[in-house]
């Protein structure tokens, strides 16, 4: 199946949706605790959401990581 081209902004929106959905599945007390090691640093989900929202280098790489994991999309711009 051919990959569906999407813009970076769309990829970012999908990534933020995923992160927020993931966070909502956790008990409130656990939501701010570190759960991801990415770029050799540990992040809580709100911290990673912030990285993606602010378009930091880590946030952008996380967007590519997440979209790549879906194996459905290719980011075109």
């Amino acid at each position: 199946m051919a990959a569906i081209p999407i813009t970076y902004e769309e990829a970012k929106r999908l990534t933020l949706e995923y992160l927020r959905s993931w966070m909502q599945q956790l008990p409130a007390a656990q939501r701010t605790r570190p759960v991801i090691v990415f770029d050799w640093r540990s992040w809580s989900i709100p911290e990673m959401i912030s990285q993606v929202e602010m378009d930091t280098d880590v946030g952008r790489r996380y967007v590519y990581f997440y979209i790549g994991s879906l194996r459905r999309y290719v980011i075109t711009g």
Binding site: R33, P34, V35, I36, V37, W40, S42, R61, Y64, G68
Partner: protein, 239 residues
């Protein structure tokens, strides 16, 4: 028996895990009768690494630390190796770097400067942790499939397996973790599976032959992939 250098800084959550994982590799190496030099925590400095290469003369190096395409660092993120600056120091060794991104530039650069084999990752090495277990990483159920993928192949290598077998074992361990977590209803399961696939697909070995998975990484990484020169490319297809 071989001289084995283990290098494992410890100064934050990520290195706590890597430190514990490579501690297991040290235990295996010693159990197999290898001559082991373990540079750990505050001893994981650039100076000690250079001194070990010159005086201990390891045949196998297993190192963990923060990385970028052209840099590998140790305790407190002090730079140990930088591509085309001092990577010739690894000449003659076989090495596995548990580190992010250095499979893009630094690892092939080391190999071009006569490091016999250099294994690492072209993308970020990423994993999932359970916050209740950060003080005992070896018991962390979320990190376990990543720990197994790192330690098991190194155990086999130290027992005499080839780098090809090391690579195949690491791929098999990632795939085993993916199968185990794929049907899980744990809220972290999708991230665990995604990270296992990501790490698996970014694994690369530079040596007499270059071994890497068939390209399935996103374009960001594809555009950065090194082009092997003068080596045979073996692409291991992962269905």
């Amino acid at each position: 028996m071989a001289r084995v250098l283990i290098f494992r800084p410890r100064f934050d959550t990520a290195t706590l895990y890597g430190h514990a994982w490579l501690g297991e590799i040290r235990r295996i190496a010693e159990g197999l009768g290898h001559d082991v030099l373990d540079l750990e925590a505050e001893n994981a400095t650039p100076e000690n690494f250079y001194d070990a290469l010159e005086n201990f003369r390891p045949e196998i190096v297993i190192a963990m630390g923060h990385g970028s395409p052209e840099v590998f660092s140790g305790q407190d993120r002090r730079v140990v190796f930088r591509a085309c600056e001092n990577d010739q120091l690894m000449s003659g060794t076989q090495a596995y770097f548990l580190s992010c991104l250095m499979g893009q530039e630094l690892a092939p650069s080391m190999n071009e400067k006569d490091a016999r084999t250099v294994a690492g990752y072209i993308a970020e090495f990423t994993w999932v942790i359970h916050p209740d277990y950060t003080d005992r990483p070896l018991e962390d159920p979320y990190a376990y499939p990543f720990y197994r993928a790192v330690v098991e192949p190194c155990g086999r290598l130290l027992a005499g397996a080839s780098w090809r077998e090391w690579y195949d074992t690491q791929i098999a361990m990632f795939n085993r973790g993916i199968r185990e977590w794929f049907e899980s209803t744990d809220p972290h399961a999708p991230q665990i599976v995604a990270a296992l696939e990501h790490d698996r697909d970014s694994l690369v070995v530079y040596g007499e032959t270059m071994i890497r998975p068939a390209m399935r990484l996103p374009p960001l990484y594809a555009s950065l992939m090194p082009i092997p020169l003068g080596v045979t490319v073996i692409s291991a297809f992962i269905p």
